[in-house]
Each structure stands twice: as C-alpha cells, then as structure tokens.
C-alpha cells in the first residue's frame, strides 16, 4: 500500500527487514547507510537499547530520484528480533509493501529462524493484507561463517512461498544491495 501523492509527484514504498534476533537486520541498514551516495539517503534513525539491540525499529529513507516525473522513495525499516517484542513488530509491519526476511544461516539458529518466519506470516495474516500484493525476498545471511545450512536446506525449511532468495554477508556487505534491489523491483511491479 504505497503512498502515491500525484499532486506533489511523490511515491513512497515501505520495506521491512524481518528476522530473529541478531540475524543481521540492523547490519543491513547500517551497511546501506554507509555505502550509498549520501545524497540518496536520509538519516538512519535507531530506537535501540543500551546494548544496541533494536527496541522498536531502525529507519532509513532512500531516494531513487525522479522517475517519470515522480519523486520515488523507499522507506527501510527493521523490526526488533527478540521474540518478546512482537507487539512492536506488528506496528512496524503496518502499511508494508515489501518484506526482506533475513535468515541466520547458522545451524544453531534454526529454531529462532523458524519461529521468526512463522511469526512473520502470523502477523501479516493478522493485519489482513492481501499477500499476493506484497514483495517478499529471503536473504540467507552470514554465508561467510562456518557451520551453516546449505542454501537448498534453508530454502526447504523457510521458503514455502517459493520466493526469490539472496545470499549475503551483511557485515562485509556482500549481497546486501542485491537483496534490496530484488524487493524494490518486486514492490514496484506489484503495486505500481
């Protein structure tokens, strides 16, 4: 549900990074903020605890520039990953156009990944969205670590919608922009 302001010639899309605690959602945003042309981004806003764990959300606006006369923006959000912050996650999901589910590839994080994935679909269904209009990408993060699932195994465990998959290491930046590009193109194609 993008905000299309024909009068001001603006269109805004909302993209949410979802996933379990410490999977790399905030690291994705920090990398984008660090690397992208400063003219194309706004301020990175983080509502975090003293231990730098996301308490509510991180927010980073990106400007694509003027496309066919429309100033086009993507508003990137993360959710708090820890399971007891579900009320906050639901609020961040309101009005979402596209979701990047960040999966922690480490074998030891399987339960947290599955719990977060199921929680995402519960919350999306709970807010009554037409999910066929939603952009969705699974980012398999931390591919640079050892003791990780294969892409095929993670795909079977977490991708019941047969959605696009991207491999990444948010710490080094590998795959971060590729993931973002896929979901941005999806939301434009799906919502116009």
């Amino acid at each position: 549900m993008p905000l299309i302001n024909f009068a001001a010639r603006e269109i805004n899309y909302k993209i949410v990074y979802y996933g379990c605690g410490l999977c790399g959602k905030t690291t994705n945003l920090q990398y984008i903020h660090r690397k992208i042309n400063p003219d194309a981004r706004g301020k990175l806003v983080s509502i975090a605890t003293e231990e730098e764990r996301t308490l509510y959300f991180d927010f980073l606006p990106l400007t694509l520039g003027t496309v066919k006369g429309m100033q086009t923006r993507f508003h990137l959000y993360t959710v708090p990953g820890q399971s007891y912050y579900n009320a906050s996650r639901k609020l961040v999901l309101q009005g979402v156009d596209g979701v990047i589910f960040v999966a922690d590839s480490q074998i030891t994080r399987l339960d947290e990944n599955v719990e977060s994935y199921l929680n995402l679909w519960d919350n999306l269904l709970g807010q009554g969205d037409d999910l066929s209009k939603l952009g969705f990408v699974i980012q398999m993060n931390k591919r640079d670590l050892t003791d990780i699932f294969s892409v095929e195994d993670l795909n079977e465990l977490l991708n019941h919608t047969d959605s696009p998959v991207a491999e990444s290491s948010a710490v080094t930046g590998e795959g971060v922009f590729e993931t973002l590009k896929v979901v941005c193109k999806q939301v434009i194609a799906k919502t116009g």
Binding site: A7, K43, C184
Partner: protein
C-alpha cells in the same frame, strides 16, 4: 482479507489540505504542521522558518502514535486519539484524522495548548471530509513505463555497490 488499499492523493485534495494547514498554522500560532500517513510517510507540510527533518519525524510520530493506540487497547480504553509531548521550548501534538492519516502540529510557548487543540479539532473535521468525502476528480494513473524506468534508476543507484 485482501485489505491493501493504498493512499492516493490528487491535486485538489492536496491544494485543500495545504490551504487548511496554512490557516491552522496562522490561527493557532503553531510553528510547523505536517500531514502524514499512519505508515509513517509525509503527505504535506506547512511551515515558515522551522523545518525539522520531515522523513524521520513522520516515521517516529506514526510509530509513536501506533504504539499509543496499542497502549489504549491494553488499558481497555477504546482509543487514544491524540499524542502530546511538552518540551521546554516546543510542544508536539499528534492527532488522528482518518484510519490512514495523522496530523502533526508543533508549537512553542507563544501560544496555548487549548487554543491549538481547539483549532486542530476543527481542522480535523474538514480534513476528514477531504480524505473521506466524495471527490469528483478522476485519479491520474501511473505512467505505463514507470516500472521499467524505476528499474533503470535502481540499477544506476546500486551500481558498483
């Protein structure tokens, strides 16, 4: 299910909103006003000299307001329809216009809270008609080539990353 209505604003609606915000600013003595969507995106603003960072402000105000609504539910209150923060030099007033639109008003101590609340409430009644009332103007459509052009713009923005 299948609830995915976007918020689309046409020229006439925006002109009426801009006029109204300007009047509200003048009569209430407020310094900055913004209409934003409940998902945190700015629609339009009215200001003379004071220009806060609008994108972050919209995102934080919408989230804060949504959290307030949830607090109301937890407290078995039907709804909290406004959010008010009092500062040393500046006050912030956020109120609900429709299910999809919020109104942000900031004002200093040169005016009174009661005055701002009174005029804001009156303005909201008119704003509600603008967003919810029938509008004869046909909504324009997105350029057919928008998707392809946006794809090219994205390739340019993200190249070499």
């Amino acid at each position: 299910m299948a609830r995915r209505k976007g918020l689309v604003i046409n020229d006439r609606q925006l002109d009426r909103c801009d006029d109204l915000l300007q009047k509200l600013k003048d009569v209430s003595g407020s310094s900055f006003l913004a209409l934003i969507s409940t998902s945190g995106q700015p629609i339009t603003t009215a200001s003379d000299e004071y220009h806060p960072e609008t994108l972050s402000l919209a995102s934080l105000a919408a989230s804060s307001f949504a959290a307030t609504q949830q607090l109301a539910k937890i407290l078995d209150e039907n709804e909290f329809t406004l959010l008010f923060h009092e500062g040393k030099g500046l006050n912030l007033h956020v109120s609900q216009v429709t299910d999809q639109v919020l109104l942000i008003v900031t004002f200093g101590h040169a005016t009174q809270v009661g005055k701002v609340r009174l005029y804001t409430q009156r303005a909201i009644e008119v704003l509600r008609q603008i967003f919810e009332g029938p509008d004869d103007e046909t909504m324009p459509e997105m350029d057919a080539d928008f998707e392809a052009a946006a794809g090219t713009a994205m390739d340019d923005l993200f190249k070499d990353m």
